[in-house]
């Protein structure tokens, strides 16, 4: 199941990346090499093996439902590329 150039372009779209023709060519070759290597995992029988998402899973980590101070709005937007009246500004959507 080698990855085609079209699939690389599709994945780029999913990842919100705009790739040049050169990048598509390069990534197609490199991703195929990495994925081929990853297919080494197929050799292992994992039928009855449960997946591990975290090495030491902690469950239901809760805190008391209490209102505490949060970061000031001006601090929150202080790094925004574009901002107005404490809101993030983006190009027109509709």
């Amino acid at each position: 199941m080698a990855l085609t150039k079209e699939e690389v372009q599709h994945v780029a779209k999913l990842a919100r990346l705009e790739l040049s023709e050169d990048e598509v060519d390069k990534y197609t070759v490199q991703l195929n090499a990495i994925l081929e290597y990853a297919r080494k995992l197929e050799a292992l029988d994992t039928t009855n093996v449960p997946p591990t998402a975290h090495a030491f899973p902690l469950q239901n980590v809760m805190r008391e439902d209490k209102v505490t101070a949060s970061m000031a709005q001006e601090k929150v937007v202080s790094n925004a590329p574009d901002e107005e009246d404490g809101f993030f500004k983006v190009p027109r959507i509709v």
Partner: protein, 491 residues
């Protein structure tokens, strides 16, 4: 006096006995930093004047008869993926080149409270993705032992700055070896703590189930001192383990007589350079002479760690890095036509090549139709790798291996071949997948380049790793050398 070549615990004695002032200390290390920085290129940003002001306050404290803590007044460096309030934190990426965090990471806050003095933020592979520190938005850091070689990565600046005397200790982060591999290449001590023992609050996320912060230092005692400050539960990190932090220095100066050390055979032989193996064999003899018993063992799924890691880490990264969209912080493209093109142009212009490669890989592995074949499969293999360690630790106190299969490689050598670059982490990846702690210490040299020895331990037994590392260090004295800053690097 070359204060910059001393360790934190030695400098603490000098400060307490008033033989040296904190201002003199900061001046000395800052002068060294400036002197060698054109060769080493370890720093992304510096704050020398602020550091001097902080040192003056430590001197006031000493003068007024107050006691100072073990790290108080000690100059340090912080990897540029840990948030520092009011001080730029770039992840060595164009994407965050203008990001000034409105808060500090828990580890930074704790070190500030302990009185350690930050001289600056240090270089890394962009978003911690890389093994050579060459994937930085700015120029790659060099290895202080030989300047045409890489310092390792991703925490290359953290390792190089400590090896070159530009900081007394530093913090790095380790997702697949990013503390231990550069520590080995630069001949310093680097500890990756158990997943959950050090808070990740304020660490810019790469792969959240694998990332862990840890110290770099020039000896094991300093490593223990830094752990005493940074480890412990943090309510701001829900993956932080609710455990009591021991006094890590209480494990030092203790015998390892009767310890059983497992030597996994998969970490030796094919793929490991002969010179590395030779130094390791010698280290094993030293440990035997200290009364430990070394027994060959097997971690049978070791060969699957690399493919497993390079599915899981990029998958988590592709999800974590989705937040860089040019809306709330960081870089934004200048020629957006609409919202969607703003997202994709911002990301294409803001991320470097390796970061994009991993986002692509992770997005593919998580995409509809491939999720089971790649991501779920890798999570299952991760269970098998973890079980290998569980079984080994039923029989052994610690496991021993080389930290890296080779000594530091030459700048530029592996940039065009990602798989070859990934291979330099084959001895360190399994530890992150299993979540266990591991330390790299210098075990010797080949042709003037340092070789690292890795001890892997049971979850939350960093203390035992420090105990055996300290015993080894005391027996060999390998730690007592400063990097010579020889050679030159072209390009």
């Amino acid at each position: 006096m070359k204060l910059y070549s001393k360790r934190a615990h030695e400098l603490h004695e000098l400060l307490v006995s008033k033989q040296v002032s904190a201002v003199e200390l900061v001046n000395d290390v800052a002068a060294r930093l400036e002197d060698v920085e054109p060769k080493v290129l370890a720093f992304v940003s510096q704050r020398i004047e602020d550091a001097k002001a902080e040192a003056a306050r430590v001197d006031d404290k000493i003068a007024s008869g107050e006691t100072i803590g073990p790290l108080e007044g000690i100059p340090m460096a912080i990897k540029d993926n840990m948030c520092t309030e009011g001080i730029p934190t770039t992840c060595s990426s164009k994407m965050l080149h203008n990001f000034v965090p409105p808060y500090s990471a828990t580890v930074v806050r704790k070190l500030n409270e302990a009185g350690a003095i930050m001289l600056g933020k240090v270089n890394m592979d962009e978003f911690a993705m890389g093994s050579s520190c060459e994937n930085s938005w700015q120029e790659g850091t060099r290895n202080p032992w030989r300047l045409e070689r890489v310092p390792g990565g991703s925490s290359g600046g953290s390792a190089a700055s400590v090896a070159a005397g530009q900081a007394i200790f530093s913090l790095g982060s380790d997702t697949g070896g990013s503390i231990r591999q550069p520590a080995a290449f630069c001949g310093v001590v680097g500890l990756k703590p158990t997943y959950g023992s050090v808070s990740r609050y304020g660490l810019i996320a790469f792969a959240s189930s694998l990332d862990q912060i840890g110290p770099f230092s020039r000896d094991v005692r300093d490593c223990a001192q830094v752990m005493n400050v940074i480890a412990g539960h943090d309510p701001l990190d829900s993956t932080s383990a609710p455990i009591d932090r021991p006094d890590y220095t209480s494990f030092l100066n203790k015998s390892i007589k009767g310890w059983r050390i497992g030597v996994p055979k998969e970490y030796f032989g094919e793929g490991i350079d002969a010179e590395v193996e030779e130094v390791l064999r010698k280290a094993m003899k030293t440990l035997e002479s200290l009364g430990a018993e070394l027994v060959e063992c097997s971690l049978p799924h070791t060969e699957y760690a690399l493919p497993c890691y390079y599915i899981i880490a990029p998958a988590e990264a592709s999800s974590n890095l989705a937040r860089y969209d040019g809306v709330r912080y960081g870089f934004r493209t200048e020629d957006a036509e609409d919202l969607i093109s703003m997202f994709s142009k911002t990301r294409s212009e803001g991320f470097g090549e390796e970061v994009k490669r991993r986002i692509m890989l992770g997005t593919y592995a998580l995409s509809s139709g491939y999720y089971d074949a790649y991501y779920l499969k890798a999570l299952k293999v991760r269970t098998l790798i973890k079980q290998d360690f569980d079984r080994a630790f039923e029989k052994f106190d610690v496991l021993l291996s080389p930290t890296t299969p080779t000594v530091a490689f030459t700048c530029g050598d592996r940039l065009e071949n990602p798989l070859q670059m990934y291979q330099s982490d084959i001895c360190t990846l399994s530890v992150n997948l299993a979540g266990i702690p591991a330390i790299s210490i210098n075990a010797g040299f080949a042709d003037g380049l340092p070789i690292g020895l890795q001890f892997m331990g049971k979850p939350f037994e960093e203390g035992r790793l420090l105990q055996i590392s300290h015993a080894f260090e005391e027996a060999t004295g390998c730690h007592s050398q400063m990097a010579p800053l020889k050679g030159g690097c072209e390009g």
